[in-house]
Symmetry: C2
Subunit: 110 residues, 2 copies
DNA sequence: CCTTTATGTAACTTGATGGTTATAGATAAC
DNA sequence: GTTATCTATAACCATCAAGTTACATAAAGG
């Protein structure tokens, strides 16, 4: 994954509205109106966020009638995870213990 | 991990200079002069980047004589990885296969 | 076609970001 | 205490980012 792409992906993830959009899209594809309803900002603002996410490769979009459905794309998330994982030796996590790390992180969240 | 903290961490990671600083610090602690020598920008610019990394919790700093050593802190990296890992089910990776995913990502990099 | 619905685009405001140069501050050495 | 070294801060500039409102565009349906 190129540095340019990492700039775009981490930059896209640096905004909480965009992270919330991704979380929503992880459940189901959604159109712009659906997403706008989730926040207290205007529709053009959401369209801008979607553009950022699309340029980062984090979502794809296709027309469905008059609507455009946004669809979460996993590849950049995987790549970003891979980049972070390069530091796993530094933080003392072995490969085969990452699974348990993730489980515990998940538990702490609820 | 709070949304505020995720803003700071992903925001810090969104800059390639800061990512390079982290990569350098993963090998060994370094002072401001060391880090400045790695790039084509001024020392104050590096100091600014270090401040951003520190506020994100990604590094800590302590004085050593007239120098200040920067030290990589793993926790936020771990947390960010955990956040991304919440999407692993979406991209179809089971917990116990993440280790192999990371290995393959690593192989592709070289 | 004309209208409605859904979305994109343009123009603008405001504040943050990333860099610069010049200068101030902290510590060690003499 | 003066000096040298290392780092931080201040002031400034240019650009980008995130939001707004107003308007343009695309597709579907009477």
């Amino acid at each position: 994954m190129s540095e340019d792409q990492l700039d775009l992906v981490f930059g896209a993830l640096a905004d909480r509205t965009r992270r919330a959009i991704l979380a929503r899209l992880a459940q189901e594809d959604a159109n712009v109106g659906d997403l706008t309803a989730l926040f207290t900002m205007s529709q053009p603002a959401i369209s801008k966020h979607l553009k950022v996410l699309e340029q980062a490769g984090l979502i794809s979009r296709n027309r469905q009638g008059t609507m455009r459905l946004s669809h979460l794309e996993a590849e950049p998330l995987r790549d970003a995870t891979g980049w972070l994982a390069d530091y796993r030796t530094y933080w003392g996590e072995s490969y085969d213990r990452l699974d348990r790390l993730f489980e515990s992180l998940n538990d702490n969240k609820e």
